[in-house]
């Protein structure tokens, strides 16, 4: 069996790690969907407050999305900047 060079090994594992970070999307989908459901309930209870409820829901969802953005940034850095290869 041919041997793998160290760079290829590190690059391959970086790619796997960058893909596994996608698991963060599970939590975000659940959290944002739950907040949207509660917002819809609020609008159903009081339709004239729809503008305020929409604004509050958007702010809450953007705050909940922050962890997903952190995960996205880490995976982008792993894929395009390749910091671990430089440490070989």
């Amino acid at each position: 069996m041919p041997l793998i060079t160290p760079e290829a090994f590190v690059l391959g594992l970086s790619a796997i790690a960058a893909a596994c970070i996608g698991l963060a999307a599970v939590g975000i989908g659940l959290g944002q969907g739950y907040a949207a459901g509660k917002a819809v309930e609020g609008v159903a209870r009081q339709p004239e407050a729809q503008g305020d409820i929409l604004k509050t829901m958007l702010v809450g969802q953007a705050v909940a999305e922050t962890t997903g953005i952190f995960a996205f940034l880490i995976s982008m850095i792993l894929l395009f900047v390749n910091p671990l290869v430089g440490m070989l």
Binding site: V59, V63, T66, F70, F72
Partner: protein, 243 residues
Amino acid sequence: MHDLNHLGPRIIVGFGDGSVFITETVFFAMIVAAVMIVLAFWSTRRMEQQPKGKQVIVEMIVEGIYKLTEGAMGKHNSHFAPYVGTLFIFLLLSNSLGMWGFRPVTADVNTAFALSLTTAFLMQYNGIRTMGFIGKIKHMSSPYPFMFPLKIIEELSFPISLGFRLFGNILGGAIVMALIFTALETGSHALHLPIPLLQAVIPLPFNLFFDVFEPILQAFIFTMLTMVFVSMEIIIHGTEDHH
């Protein structure tokens, strides 16, 4: 611009031996600032008591900003409205530069963190101005003294998350647009089209999302979080002090 191998901002001018340089981020930020100043001067020429024409629109915008500030921070804090308005309009214009074919100004981590550092400085300054330095330390260790390091970590992590949220969202949008354009370009080459036909109409809904909806949402959220946290530093003083 849509090159996947060069995702960072390009260097325009290098001083000295090239270690001090100006990137296109600074260049476009100055252009956005110049556009804002020109618009401000152009719209306030010859103001009249009975407004008509462009003065109506500008007065609507300013009234809207003041209403937003007073709604989030209370009537006694309406002197923050100029900063809030400038922040909102600057973010709106900077994030949607992708629509004109340029790299968005806030897709650079330096710009996003400069804005969030300004907000953090405003928060701390207002906290110290209303509570005093000793009062602020006493407030941070208010229920139990061991909360002090936790509160310090919270105060430090808020500007970092604010900056990263803005930077990550806008850079993510720019990267996805670059990916879409590269995919369509490969498709055009595979079909041997003389003109890039596939890239003409198909990216439009993605442009609508990433260059219109996302900039407005991120500008709004940055502004709302700024207002809420700055007003939190001031409200706490009002409930604990007797004037």
